[in-house]
């Protein structure tokens, strides 16, 4: 998908591009689009970015976002228009490539091409850099040149969801209604209810959507369904909810087929690729508890006949640290990748199996250098740690049920704890 040249996209609306061209910039704080309060001013709808209205007259900005033609709104000599987008204290997102006059004011047009900035942002998110703040302003956006008959797609204001959506819409004329989900993706936000019935109704009212479009249809991603009661949306604001496909990439086909999604479009997949993408999130999400545990293991390693020795800390503590890390990788990386091929349904059991195999392999290779007690400790500790971290992967999976996870935890946590305690005892005993 990456298109290196795309940072030079046609629609790089002048001033905005140069200003936002700093990857380190935090998009959220650069507040072209500050989080909006519940202002009901109708011209506040489509964000803060709307320009003084007068100067854009006549420029229905045809083809502004099209990549094929040199667009009128973004050419060099249109400086008057470009400057009219500027507002003191505001900054345009790089993906806004024009503004569309509508009965409720100017609506920002977004580009369907992702730029280098978008890719950098996504990469940062995967590795947990600034994860909590990657959001766009909620409100109404336009793709292409939609009119009163064009469809309205509902989306979350998590920048990655927003990017994934607009990227698929090249050549379409659509409205995007972005909900305030506090920078959280559709599925998660739907689970929490922030992507939900009330927010849809509020956003429809606030944007004055019923004056922008003449029809009464909203296309909501299927994964938003846990938070949205379609019949209530219809009752309260008159718009009928149509559930679109699970993946944004199926949207064009869905629209072309007259809002029909095949069974495959309605299923959540959990491919090896999906799981691989999640492992960095998983690892960076482990956070402090894991760091403390690692430190504790290291320090415990220093305990021995001479009460505490630095040498022992390095040798025994370091060794135990490696065991811990091996368990962590077994549980948080290897198990997720092998998930569908491992036997048994509980994640804890899958993790324990992977951990045991690695422990046995380690013993085969290094067994002679380890004492019996140390070897025994390794054999217990590694599977227990792997099992724990595998169990935590339930949070990233797409098919575990809360009642199942709870049952699994009630069963396996005592076993994991017992194995770890015995292992720790044996390991400490081996020091003397």
């Amino acid at each position: 998908m990456a298109e290196p040249a795309s940072s030079q996209q046609k629609c790089s609306c002048g001033p905005a591009e140069s200003e936002t061209a700093k990857p380190a910039d935090n998009p959220a704080t650069s507040s072209c689009c500050p989080p909006r309060t519940d202002s009901t001013r109708e011209d506040s709808i489509s964000s803060c970015c709307s320009p003084p209205t007068s100067a854009v007259e006549g420029s229905g900005t045809p083809g502004c976002c099209e990549t094929t033609t040199e667009s009128s709104c973004c050419t060099e000599d249109d400086t008057a228009i470009r400057h009219s987008w500027e507002r003191p204290g505001h900054r345009l997102w790089h993906f806004v490539c024009g503004f569309l006059p509508t009965p409720v004011g100017e609506v920002p047009q977004v580009s369907t091409r992702l730029t280098t900035l978008d890719h950098i942002g996504r990469w940062q998110m995967r590795w947990g850099i600034g994860r909590d703040r990657y959001r766009v302003a909620p409100g109404l956006y336009a793709v292409g040149n939609p009119d009163a008959d064009s469809d309205v797609l509902v989306s979350a204001n998590y920048k990655l969801s927003f990017d994934a959506l607009r990227r698929e819409l090249q050549g379409h004329d659509l409205w995007l209604l972005v909900l305030e989900t506090h920078g959280i993706n559709v599925w998660c936000a739907a689970g929490k209810g922030t992507f939900g019935t009330e927010e849809i109704i509020r956003r429809v009212r606030e944007t004055g959507l019923d004056r922008v479009v003449s029809h009464r249809r909203l296309i909501v991603p299927q994964l938003g369904a846990p938070g949205v009661a379609g019949h209530e949306v219809r009752r309260d604001c008159g718009f009928k909810v149509i559930y679109g496909p699970v993946r944004a990439s199926d949207l064009p086909a869905f629209l072309d087929a007259g809002y029909q999604a095949g069974e495959e479009m309605r299923r959540v997949r959990f491919s090896t690729g999906d799981r691989l993408i999640l492992t960095p999130v998983e690892l960076t999400g482990l956070g402090r508890p894991t760091l403390y545990a690692l430190l504790a293991v290291l320090i415990l390693g220093g305990i021995g006949p001479s009460i505490f020795s630095f040498n022992a800390l390095v040798h025994r503590g370091g060794g135990a640290l490696l065991v811990f890390i091996a368990g962590l990788l077994a549980g948080a990386v290897i198990t997720p990748i092998l998930l569908p091929w491992l036997p048994w349904r509980p994640f804890a059991a899958k993790g324990a199996l992977v951990g045991s195999i690695i422990a046995l392999l380690t013993l085969l290779i290094f067994g002679r250098d380890l004492g019996t007690a140390d070897g025994f400790a390794l054999l217990l500790a590694l599977p227990a740690i792997a099992s724990w971290y595998a169990m935590n992967f339930t949070g990233s999976s797409t098919f575990t049920s809360p009642s199942g996870v709870e049952k699994e935890m009630r069963r396996s946590i005592p076993l994991q704890a017992a194995a770890l305690l015995i292992a720790a005892g044996s390991w400490l005993w081996a020091a003397f």
């Binding site: 998110m125 995967r126 947990g128 994860r131 909590d132 920078g183 959280i184 993706n185 998660c188 739907a190 689970g191 929490k192 299927q222 994964l223 369904a225 846990p226 938070g227 949205v228 009661a229 379609g230 019949h231 559930y243 699970v246 999604a261 069974e263 309605r266 299923r267 959540v268 997949r269 959990f270 491919s271 993408i277 999640l278 999130v281 999400g285 569908p340 349904r345 509980p346 169990m391 935590n392 339930t394 949070g395 990233s396 999976s397 797409t398 098919f399 575990t400 049920s401 809360p402 009642s403 199942g404 996870v405 709870e406 049952k407 699994e408 935890m409």
Partner: protein
Amino acid sequence: MREYAYLNEYVSLQLDSGKCTGCGLCQQVCPHAVLRVEDGKARIDARERCMECGACAKNCAFDALKVEAGVGCASAIIYGWLTGKEASCDCSGGC
């Protein structure tokens, strides 16, 4: 694609066929094809695939479906146990 199935015997999904009108919406919103509408009635086709996301119950205008919806996430449940609050994950990333 391999089918995923989880600890099925615990899933709280319940269908009251008496109330079901066969509108088909539950089948449409379910991400794991758990429900199937046949002969004007919904039926639980693959209970073991249900992840208790709650989409079906939320969208059944006739109140025919019940499920204890929540997040199937270990750290959220631990959080719930420790604080006594409802389990909730602040999954800002990928979950």
